[in-house]
């Protein structure tokens, strides 16, 4: 369903562990303009429990979370 948004950048953190998961998201967002869209692929479990929440804490907007199957979710973030 990600085609609903014009994604500006995509990252995959399914091979990373905490805290690199969130650090990578943060670096990706830091390199973007306000209002741009980032798509993050992450794993169910630890990453899903912590990363979206940290993104919210930083003030960015999570627009959508898609279940891609096989325990992977993609999170669409709008940079604040």
């Amino acid at each position: 369903m990600s085609e609903e948004f014009a994604i500006d950048k995509k990252i995959d953190i399914t091979k990373d562990v905490c805290p690199f998961t969130f650090v990578k998201v943060k670096i990706a967002l830091d390199g973007m303009e306000n209002g741009q869209f980032l798509e993050v692929d992450l794993n169910k479990g630890e990453a899903m429990k912590n990363v979206p929440r940290s993104i919210k804490d930083e003030g960015h907007k999570i627009l959508k979370i898609n279940d891609k199957g096989d325990g992977v979710f993609s999170v669409i973030v709008k940079k604040k």
Partner: protein, 285 residues
């Protein structure tokens, strides 16, 4: 020369195996201390002890190997640095606390602030036996509320409002207790499974989960030691700081009234009954 061990003990001087030496317990709250004070304590351990500090299992600091002759001198120097000595014996001991909402993303209450207030109000108060407090920010329970005579824990009772919900499923993912089920077009909440952790509230991108009640869960009667006993949780959320302290007051009065000398609070509760304490608490309302 006669030595008044009792007076020494009240001042936090723990008698060591080695004759004439004490491990000097300091007064800390929530395991936090100003860096300059810590530097001063380290210096004094070099001057009066063996140049090392012992970090206790309850977030305290002790200076081992202080000789009896130096007791007055080290106390004076500590006082100058604004550091008090701790307490031992049958009284309210060091209050431990996690970093709480100020620092930890999972925290729901300001544990350091609550810890300071508990310390201010009750520290050193005499009771039938030693009495330990712990303050922890969420059900992760890093400060081990169930192992203390009184444990305070942050709690959120959440409420779902479908307005704006995108059915993204995140709340179901973050809920460790399986209290939330997100289907195609509904979000189901099973109140009975909720452990009040507040994760749904903190995570939902659309703010559909809000705290209906934000407050404290009180654990009573926990202890470790030779006969461990985990604390009982009072079966309701305390929704204000004033109420929290009124209930703690009642609990301590209860212990003073019913506790036998040298009986830990948990044992008193087992003997007299949690119901009786609950009845006293209900009289407050």
């Amino acid at each position: 020369m006669t030595i008044d061990y009792k007076a020494l003990k009240e001042g936090g001087f723990m008698r060591q195996k080695d004759a004439g030496y004490f491990s000097l317990r300091l007064h800390l709250v929530g395991g936090q201390i100003d860096a300059d004070k810590m530097i001063r304590i380290a210096e004094l351990s070099k001057k009066y002890g063996k140049g090392y500090l012992h970090l206790t299992t309850r977030q305290g600091v002790e200076i081992p190997y202080v000789h009896l002759d130096k007791v007055t001198a080290i106390k004076a120097e500590l006082a100058e640095a604004g550091v008090e000595t701790g307490v031992c014996g049958p009284r309210v001991r060091t209050v431990i606390a996690c970093q709480g909402e100020e620092v930890c993303p999972r925290g729901m209450i300001d544990c350091q602030d609550i810890g300071q207030k508990i310390d201010k109000k009750y520290y050193g108060q005499k009771l039938p036996h030693k009495f330990k407090f712990a303050v922890t920010g969420c059900p992760a329970g890093c400060a081990k509320p169930e192992e203390n005579d009184i444990g305070v824990q942050g709690a959120i009772h959440p409420k779902y409002d479908s307005d704006g919900c995108s059915m993204c499923g995140l709340c179901q993912e973050v809920c460790y207790s399986g209290a939330i089920e997100v289907t195609e077009d509904t979000v189901e909440f099973d109140d009975t499974k909720c452990n009040l952790c507040g994760e749904c509230v903190k995570s939902c991108p659309m703010d559909c989960w809000r705290p209906e009640v934000l407050g404290y869960i009180l654990f009573v009667g926990g202890k470790m030691g030779k006969k461990p006993r985990l604390a009982d949780a009072l079966p309701f959320i305390i929704d204000s700081e004033d109420e929290l302290f009124s209930i703690i007051d009642v609990t301590l009065e209860f212990f003073n009234k019913h506790g036998k000398p040298r009986e830990r609070f948990g044992t008193t509760l087992d003997r007299v009954g949690l119901k009786k304490l609950m009845a006293d608490i209900e009289k407050l309302a």
